[in-house]
């Protein structure tokens, strides 16, 4: 399972701890190539992903998914990294109530976590997400903004193979810090990416 490291400095502590335990490999994005992807069964990318560079590996990414790989994607889609992905759409003129979240499907990543713990940061809403990556046909919305109409989180069992989780915000593993959620969220993100329980059939 690969954690693609794009940002400057060390990855977050829960990521380093998981790597030290041998569950994931942290690799700089510049070292990712088709051969490395072909050997992987899971991929986690963050919001500083170089989408222009990753687009050059589109065929390898689709091959990775065709083979049953799972990809947890954080951030806004701005390049067609695989065929079915469309550019991020932000909410138009969002107001405070638009940032209230609705749990639209019970995904294991969020089990037992109160929405209120993710919805605000020191009482301020809007950090979690402000829009959505458009869902491919067949994807299942997990978390909605704006009365549940904007799928900030969704998961997709790709017809050609593999699964894709989209979180259209800053890295989900970093959410809920005032509730000490990052270790829990990262553990669950890695569990899912490693083939763990998923709400999709």
């Amino acid at each position: 399972m690969l954690y693609l490291h794009c940002a400057f400095g060390d990855p977050p502590a829960p990521v380093r701890k998981t790597a030290a335990a041998g569950r994931i490999a942290i690799i700089p994005q510049a070292e990712l190539d088709a051969a490395r992807l072909a050997k992987a069964h899971g991929l986690v990318t963050g919001n500083q992903l170089d989408q222009e560079a990753l687009l050059q590996l589109r065929q390898a990414l689709e091959g990775f998914l065709d083979a049953g790989g799972r990809w947890f994607f954080n951030g806004h889609v701005v390049r067609p990294l695989i065929a079915e992905l469309e550019p991020y759409q932000s909410m138009r003129n969002p107001k405070r109530p638009d940032f209230e979240q609705t749990r639209l499907a019970a995904h294991p990543i969020f089990k037992g976590i109160e929405i209120a713990q993710l919805e605000t940061n020191h009482g301020v809403a809007g950090f979690y997400g402000r829009g959505a990556n458009p869902m491919p046909a067949g994807a299942i919305a997990v978390t909605g903004l704006r009365n549940g109409t904007v799928p900030v989180d969704w998961v997709w069992h790709r017809p050609g193979g593999g699964r894709f989780f989209s979180h259209a915000g800053n890295d989900l593993g970093q959410a809920g810090r005032e509730w000490d959620l990052p270790p829990i969220l990262y553990a669950r993100i890695f569990d899912w990416t490693n083939g763990g329980p998923c709400l999709c059939v």
Partner: protein
């Protein structure tokens, strides 16, 4: 003068540099690794906010040669310009995202050189969102903006090298490209045309 942005391919770089609102201000968008294609004569390098610093650090020698040849570099915030530009000393600070929750709160940022062409039309409210840190002011540099304690947030240094360094800790490209924080868009609406006029003047 040609304005050349160095994009790291992140969603916020792609959105800010390519979307119609600002795309026309940039003559070319290159990766940091293609910096060797830029000639110092008649060109300005623009390093957008929150560029993964390791990619600029790898080009530090090239940037030094470019400045030695009289080139201009604009280094925006959260890209650790202190690690790849000569003579830059940065003091980071924990970000207070919630300062404005207190009644009557004032972050205290102010434009110190309102008559400078780069700051035309830019007021206190247009440089006020949050702080990531400040710089030691190089001797002979012109300070354009400072924080409440009078520490430098934005300066131009035409003394330390034969070239010109325009350096700030403000990070509007990241937030504008994330569709988050309207003040950052107001800042860029003024700063980018000011920069073009300044470079061409």
């Amino acid at each position: 003068m040609r304005l050349i942005a160095l994009s790291s391919g992140t969603y916020y770089h792609i959105e800010s540099l390519e979307a119609p609102r600002y795309a026309a201000y940039f003559d070319q968008v290159l990766t940091p690794e293609r910096l060797d294609e830029v000639r110092a004569e008649n060109a300005c390098i623009f390093v957008p906010c929150r560029s993964p610093a390791q990619r600029l650090i790898a080009q530090a020698d090239q940037i030094g040669q470019y400045l030695a040849a009289g080139g201009t570099v604009v280094a925006m915030g959260e890209s650790r310009s202190d690690l790849w530009l000569p003579g830059v000393t940065f003091h980071g600070r924990p970000t207070n995202w919630w300062w404005w929750l207190e009644p009557g709160a004032d972050l205290g940022n102010r434009v110190t050189a309102p008559g400078h062409p780069l700051m035309a039309g830019i007021g206190k409210d247009d440089i006020t969102w949050h702080l990531h840190g400040h710089f030691d002011t190089p001797e002979g540099a012109d300070v354009l903006a400072e924080d409440a304690e009078g520490r430098t947030l934005f300066y131009i240094d035409e003394v330390s090298t034969p070239g010109r360094m325009i350096v700030t800790s403000l990070d509007p490209i990241y937030h504008h490209g994330s569709h988050f924080m309207p003040a950052t868009t107001r800042f860029l609406d003024r700063f980018l045309p000011n920069l073009r006029a300044y470079l061409d003047g």
